[in-house]
Amino acid sequence: MSAAASTETVAPLLSVEHLRIVAAARRREDLLVEDVSFAVHAGEFLGIVGESGCGKSMTALSMLGLLPGPNVRASGGRVLFDGQDILTMGGSSLRHLRGNDVAMIFQDPMSSLNPVQTIGEQIVETILLHEKIGRERAWARAVELLAEVNIPAAAQRARDYPHQLSGGMRQRVMIAMAIACKPRLLIADEPTTALDVTIQAQILELLDRLRRERGMAVILITHDLGVIAEYADRVLVMYSGRIVERAEVASLFAQPLHPYTHGLLGSVPPLEEEVDELVAIEGQPPSPGAWPSGCRFQPRCPQSRPECASWSVRLIESEPDHAAACILHEHGETSHAD
C-alpha cells in the first residue's frame, strides 16, 4: 500500500485498454470480457477481485498472449507492455516476453510442477530458456532462488521431486521459477486458494517481499477481499466481464461505491465485531451469453431501478482514483442507502 501512489507521470509498465475477449462456439460468440481498461506501474501491487467466471483469469492470460485461441480470443482493445501490444505479438517475441518480462503463478501448486523432473531441473529449464549460461551456473542460481523463497536446505531440496514437497513448498517453487528471469510483472492467479490459511499468509508475505526487493509489479487475482485489503495498493472489482469498481484499497474498504462491492464486503465476516448474520448477494452470477442488458448486476442488485436495464455502462469517477460503474453515481449520489 505504498510505492505506486503517485506515478501518473511515469508511463505505466502495463496498460490494458478497452480489452474485449470473446469465446466462439458453433456460430455464436459469447462475450467473456468487455471494455476492461487499467494500468499497472512498476512496483505496484494491484488486486483483481471477482467471482469465478467474471473474466479475471481471461484478462490475466491475455497479458501473456495465452488466450486459448482460436475459439477464445481478444476481439478488441490493446494490452500494452512497455508500449508494445501483446495481443499482436508474434511467437518469438511472445516467448521472449513470457518469463522474461511477465511471469505467472497458478492456483493449484499440486499440478503446476512436472512430476517427472526434480524441482531444481525445472528451475534450470526455465533459466536456460532465456539465458545462455552453463547448466552448472543455472543450477547454482536455482538453489539461490529456492533459498530466496525461503525453502530450507535449498541445495538438497533442489534434488527432490514435486511429490516430496507440501503444497506450500510447491507454491514457493513455482514462485522461484516465476522470478528466475527477473520479470518486471508477476501475475498471481489465486495463488493461495488451494493452501491453508497460515501458508496463505506466508506466500503472500513472500510475494510482497519480492515485490519490494525487486521492484516488480504484482497483479494478484483473488476472490478473497481480506487478502486484497492486506497487500494491494489498488483494486479492480470485476463482475460479468466488466470492471465495476476501481479504487485505492483504503477508499474501497472505507466507502465501496458499487452495490456489488458493497455486497461482497457485507458477505465477509469482520474480525472486530460480532455479526449475527452475513448478508449474501441474492442469486447467481449470470453465465457469459446470458448477461442482462444494461448493468449486468441489476437483476441481483438491491438498489436496481427500471432504467438500469437500459443504462450504457461506464466507469464514473466520483472521487479521484475511485470509480464505479453504477447509475447511482451518475449524478453524484452514493450507493449507501443505509
Binding site: 467473456l32 469465478s52 513470457r98 518469463g99 493449484d108 499440478s111 517427472v116
Partner: protein
Amino acid sequence: MTNISTTDHTDLQPAPWLALFGEGAMSRRLFRSPTFAVGFSIVALLVLAATIGVWFSPYQPNSMDLTARLAAPGPQHWFGTDNFGRDIFTRVAVGSQMSLLVGLLVVVITGIGGALLGALAGYVRALDNIIMRVMDAFMAFPAMLLAIAITAALGPSLMNVVVALAVSYIPRTARIVRGTALVVREQQYVEAALVAGAHTRRVLLVHVLPNCLGSLIVQLTFVFAYAVLAEATLSYLGVGLPPPAPTWGNGIASGREYIVEAWWMSLFPGLAITFAVLGFNLLGDGLRDVLDPHLRAET
C-alpha cells in the same frame, strides 16, 4: 475460468514410472505382485536361454546328423531332433534369439514412432485429425493381414519383418499415447512451461512425452508379446525369416508333416511361443497394476 481445476486428473498421471529406477520403492511393489514376478521370471528365463542356453548345447543349430533323424527327446537330444537330425533344443534356443531380437526391434521402433506421433497428435491440436485419421486408415486393416502384405511386398528378411510389425503396431500405440497426452496437456505444468516462454517442441519433449511414458511402457510389453507371436506366425506362413534360419514359427511349420511320428518337432517351438507370450503378457499386466492408478485400488 481457464483454471479448470485439474486435481481430478492428477491421479491419471502415470508419473511414478521414474521411481522404477530410483530408490527401489517401485521395484519392491512390482515384485510383490505375483503376476509381475511370474512374468518377469519367464522373460528372464527366455533371455537366459537365448544368451547362455546356446552354450549348453554341443550342437550347431544347422548341423545335420542323418543317423539321428527324428530322434525322440532323450539325454542325447533333450527336445529330440528333426527330419534332418538337427537338435531341436539348440534350434529353439537360437530361435529365441530371433524372436527376442525381432520383439526388441519392433518395440523400439513402435515405441519411438508411437510416442512421437501420439504425443504430437495429443498436444498439437492442429495435427490431431491429420495424424489420427492416417492411423485409423492403418488400423482398418487387421494387424496380421497388414504385416503379411508388407512382408510379401518387401520380401522376407529380418528387417522387413520388423518394419511390417512396427507399421502394424504404431497406430495402436500412438492412439494410447495420444490419450495420455490429452490428459497431460491440460496439466498446469504445461501451461506453466508456456508461461515461462517455452517453445512447443520443448514442452512436448520435456513435459508431455515423459509423462506419457507410464502408459507407453505398459503398452510396449504387450507389443513385445504380439511381435513374438506375429513373427512366429509370419515364419510359419513362410513370409517371415526364410527357412535355414531357426525360428519358432518355421520350426512348427516343418514339424507339421511329421506330426504323427515326431510330435516333438512342433511341440517344443510351440511351447516356447506360448511361454514367451505368456511371460510378456504377465509382465505387462503386473506393470499396469503398479503404473495405472485406476487399478491400484483393487490390487
